[in-house]
Symmetry: C3
Subunit: 210 residues, 3 copies
Amino acid sequence: MQITFVQVLDFIGTLAFAVSGIRLSSAKRFDLFGAYIVGLVTAIGGGTMRDLMLGVPIFWMHDPFYLICTALALLWVILFSRHLIHQNNTWFIFDTIGLAMFTVTGIEKTMHAPDQYPFWAAIIMGTITGAAGGVFRDVFMNQVPLIFRGEIYALACVLGGIAYFAALELGLSTVAAGLICGAFVITMRILAVRYRLHLPILKGDETPKD
Amino acid sequence: MQITFVQVLDFIGTLAFAVSGIRLSSAKRFDLFGAYIVGLVTAIGGGTMRDLMLGVPIFWMHDPFYLICTALALLWVILFSRHLIHQNNTWFIFDTIGLAMFTVTGIEKTMHAPDQYPFWAAIIMGTITGAAGGVFRDVFMNQVPLIFRGEIYALACVLGGIAYFAALELGLSTVAAGLICGAFVITMRILAVRYRLHLPILKGDETPKD
Amino acid sequence: MQITFVQVLDFIGTLAFAVSGIRLSSAKRFDLFGAYIVGLVTAIGGGTMRDLMLGVPIFWMHDPFYLICTALALLWVILFSRHLIHQNNTWFIFDTIGLAMFTVTGIEKTMHAPDQYPFWAAIIMGTITGAAGGVFRDVFMNQVPLIFRGEIYALACVLGGIAYFAALELGLSTVAAGLICGAFVITMRILAVRYRLHLPILKGDETPKD
């Protein structure tokens, strides 16, 4: 068995997404099984949504890799619970690598789907792959999804997706486009956190009718 | 390019649904991107659920119309935030037109799906097309879905759907049945709001076991 | 028409799941239609999720049985609202029979799906069939899903699923494996409630980064 670079990135991202779900579960005092499920949903929820919408087989149902990753993430949180806070920078980097990786995966899977889709649908699928797992996690936590009002997150996926297709337009290969997309997502996220970049809050009327 | 009557109704409905999601997002202080996503999910969530359940391609993934409508809705809320409250009656009418339109679309898409479905499944799909987007919106807002305890809303879709198939039984064309269904939904909604019609609250035991 | 043993169990389980959703709806003061929808989603939500993920037609869309069961459940709650609390033991048994039944159904449907799936995917599908409806119910109630922190529930499905495939490995028939799986789920649930068995709470750091 040969381990590819892509598999390493997939492992890092899955681990980081699962850890994020499991940590929030522990703050809500979920039991071990509940924490495992939330970790799993955070890690694979976005890709599952994408595969359902593309009408293709669900990616994790033929490969125990993601279940094992989530088990490792749970073990890690149990063993290092007191030290997790000191690992925040590491987990932020891993999470960001995952976001970039999942965005590229989502775009490329859409372009290779049996049906043909326009490029903007691929960008949306990339964004869903990267960001929807966190939305499901927050819904299970019974809190407003963080991506709707926190630092720039899902928008980084959209911009990375635009960079992907801009690179293809310029005649670059899909490998180069994927790397550019990933670099874009990672850079955006680092800048967003470093400089606390937020999008403007929408100020509408305060008394919507329904 | 020729714009059909159906397309005009679809535009009005999509706009109104997106505006409803965006206005609630602004009340929750979501950022612009979050408001856009919630508006989009409110507008296309019901039809997406329907297409997933019918096993057909997702309707908006080949047509940028709905993304553009939602962008226009966001622009409108930004530009006219102070005046939206004075437009409540207009938006109520638009929302109602959308509900009627989406119900008919859901029924007809089910009847033309590759698999054959019984009439009551088409009515459910019509109701999901009309009402599920608002449920997703409310889940994202972290509040109990309004349709479960507010004015008659999803029930109007069900009754409209029954009217649709009653019309077909009477030998009317699908166009006539669609118009009757739509008129039924709109009338029900106007009566419900005008006379504050509510269904009875369910009074069960107050201490459910789980 | 001949009523099979499996149909009786399916009826009991559907009724119990719908009653659980409807009772919680009444505690939240939903209207009759909202209570019906929540009851329906509790009863059929897990199987719907399973069918979507397996890419097969949604089971209830060709059979009005589940809609009728839910209507009966609503009627029951309305008629016997004052006595429901005295029926708690009965409903617990019915709910447990449903959980067992739905787990077996989910496993067997996965093994007979057009695509081939590994045994662990079938166990997950069995667990989703049994437990996801309750998760949707709780999300609609705007509360943290009970299965993430209450008594052992979804874990009973997982262990029952393992028992199913262990039985097959030992050369037993699928009927015997189904009975063993069901007995396992029921026993686990009874023990969990009788001895208040909980999984350990996950104690991670209290200040997750996101």
